[in-house]
Amino acid sequence: MAFFLFLFTHTVSSQTSYAWGLLPAINLNKGFDNKWNLNFTIESRQFVQKGIFNQTANSGYTYELTDFSTVLSKKIGLQSFLGGGYTLRIRDQKTQHRSIQQFTVVSKLNHLRLSHRFTSDQTFFKDDKPEFRVRYRIGSEIPLNGQSADVDEFYLKLSNELLNSWQDQDYDLENRLAAVLGYKFSDTNKLEVGLDYRIDGFIDGFAAHVFWVRVNWYVKI
């Protein structure tokens, strides 16, 4: 936490941009033969406010984009999954195409579940060079009642993700820190609400801070 406070306080200057908005997502999962899982996610970004720190906000509500993603995963170990997928991003009436490869390991510790997710993706634009990213996310589910998050119980989900991206000659590093409160309606139906803080551009001194209010709905069908 001290690291993020350091990052935040040392990257905020008179020219540092910020934004906050809403990040709702619907997440549908369908399992096949106990081995395969097909995930379909719709996620949209809607900015409520954008501006420069220490200045008057310069924009109100703006719709940003919608992602339609699908990932097919195969269980390759006790709790490890290898997957590949595709995202269609619609932004300003234009489309972007992204291919995704990901490997996830989930483990159960005494009072929590821990996940490590390694992802690489490649985004293709109609009028720009492709962007390549390598990501790592560590996440944990902490039950708020008992030793595991059961039906009709709340849990806390904390995660942090580092994203390295390369586009043409440019490199950037982004960090995403999220804390959400989840509720399990059933073993196949969960709702989460919380905050997601993202910072990028701090390597070259033009940090951009984005604060998202996340609402995630997970359904297994």
Partner: protein, 191 residues
């Protein structure tokens, strides 16, 4: 059009309730001490120098039970009672390597006959006996011969494929029960 669609999705997220229901095999949740049967409270309060006491209620297909979890002399104990507060068993988490070699070999031979490959993830000693004997056991870590001993192990084992099991071994080395552990859905940790 997209904006309307996105807004609809947002409303769906905020306003929709469970559409799918499913029964659960086992559920463990914290309970306040005031909800614990008096007999169970009396047994635990008769123990000395215990730390981090927490009470749980467990609901499973075999019924309801109350569990006290605590630490004593750095060891983790779990004491299970029925809903009236009658003591059912005492479990102590141990390092499997600290168990006698003879016992380890008995269990390993049995696991060898069941799995092509295995590893023991967690081991608990399970004790059953009279109230007084079990109390002495916790207090002194000395087992009376009248106390029945079993080993509850979490085992990662491969038959056709790798799975995780909870296996209860009798002291003789025979398997009393074997249950596959079904992992909870982790979609929210993957995506």
């Amino acid at each position: 059009m997209l904006r309307i669609y996105t807004l609809l999705c947002g409303l769906l997220i905020l306003g929709t309730y469970p559409l799918i229901g499913q029964t659960k095999f086992e559920k463990e949740s914290r309970v306040k001490e005031s909800e614990v049967p008096d007999a169970a409270k009396a047994f635990v309060s008769s123990l000395t120098e215990i730390k981090n006491l927490k009470w749980y209620k467990e609901i499973s297909t075999s019924g309801h039970s109350i569990e006290a979890k605590f630490k004593k002399d750095k060891a983790k104990y779990s004491v299970e009672f029925d809903t009236l507060g009658n003591l059912e068993d005492v479990e102590k988490t141990v390092d499997w390597e600290a168990i006698s070699k003879v016992q380890q070999d008995k269990v390993a031979r049995r696991l060898d006959s069941v799995f092509s490959k295995f590893s023991i993830q967690k081991a608990q000693l399970q004790y059953k006996g009279s109230l007084e004997d079990l109390k002495n056991l916790i207090q002194t870590d000395q087992r009376s011969p009248k106390i029945e001993l079993a080993f509850e192990l979490i085992v990662k084992g491969t038959k056709k494929e790798k799975r995780q099991y909870e296996i209860l071994f009798l002291e003789s080395g025979h398997i009393h029960s074997i249950n596959e552990i079904i992992f909870k859905i982790a979609d929210h940790l993957m995506f």
